[in-house]
Symmetry: D2
Subunit: 108 residues, 4 copies
Amino acid sequence: MYTSKEIAAFEAGIKLGALYHQFVGTPVSVETAESLERAIERSISLQPYVVSVSVRIDRSMLMGNVFGYSELSGKMIRAEVGVAYEGAHVRAVLEYDPEKDYPMMHLK
Amino acid sequence: MYTSKEIAAFEAGIKLGALYHQFVGTPVSVETAESLERAIERSISLQPYVVSVSVRIDRSMLMGNVFGYSELSGKMIRAEVGVAYEGAHVRAVLEYDPEKDYPMMHLK
Amino acid sequence: MYTSKEIAAFEAGIKLGALYHQFVGTPVSVETAESLERAIERSISLQPYVVSVSVRIDRSMLMGNVFGYSELSGKMIRAEVGVAYEGAHVRAVLEYDPEKDYPMMHLK
Amino acid sequence: MYTSKEIAAFEAGIKLGALYHQFVGTPVSVETAESLERAIERSISLQPYVVSVSVRIDRSMLMGNVFGYSELSGKMIRAEVGVAYEGAHVRAVLEYDPEKDYPMMHLK
């Protein structure tokens, strides 16, 4: 058996894994980043038990390739997802950890 | 050796293949469809040689699952991409073919 | 603060969300399903804290389109992921729930 | 109206765009690269008009992150797809161009 909080944590993990692997690889630039942020937020907010989502793409990493755009990578994303499950609430974050050089996901 | 028009057709194919396989699986509903359409258009418009992109998600297919949302599938998408390469122009379309029950891509 | 078990549950959720949204949309047939199952298992097994992964694609759903293949959808997948985090172990499952007509993810 | 060769070029573009955006982001390591290569090849070979596919992931780019694995990126992939459409044949290649620092797709 699992507690409500364990299940809420599980559900929060699903959302961050989904967000990451659905959208990594998407072409993006400084001009289109906001549109993509909002579309990701709205899409993930539809999933079960989500109460809040915020997504921020780090513009300083959008330097552009030879054709003038970038591809969304995990390191560019700061996302925070709030999940509520039968009275339990958790917040989970995806953010780049510069020391580990890795896009870490953690419970907050 | 390839003609400019053959290369333009190749480039148009890349864009439709990219659009399809990047975004299929994204959670979507009637409320979020427009945000997703615009984000897809803006994202694909960044790719090389693209001069126009329009994306339309068929609302009548967004009936919702037990949690009230749908997942973007190829059959829901009508997309049209215009590509220009060294004087050659092509337009390519992704649209559901109800007879074949298949999301067809073709040059227009 | 979170317990080890809550964090393990969170990590298990990440893996199922990743698996789902990375691979949904992949062309698949009865002939290629096993190759895809193994590649998904091996790929997800690389992620942090994973101790086991098994993936099974339901062949009875691979009926084929007009060109003779299918696309991987969530409903076709049964996946089970085992995660260990600082002494806590959880198992999480993705499987189609025919009553809900939805690919459910749950802790086991 | 389009020639068979233009349509074959279009179809080849679809396959490379699909391959790229379906699989970029997949966790991969030196140990799992071959399994992923074969699964990608088999999956893309199912698509219409494909007569051959070969995929090679550059092991020298699989240096591993803090958790010991990498994520498939476009720059790591060399793929070649052969397409036949009504008597016309084309071959298309995805390969990293170090001068442009970009994963180029071109007709061969």
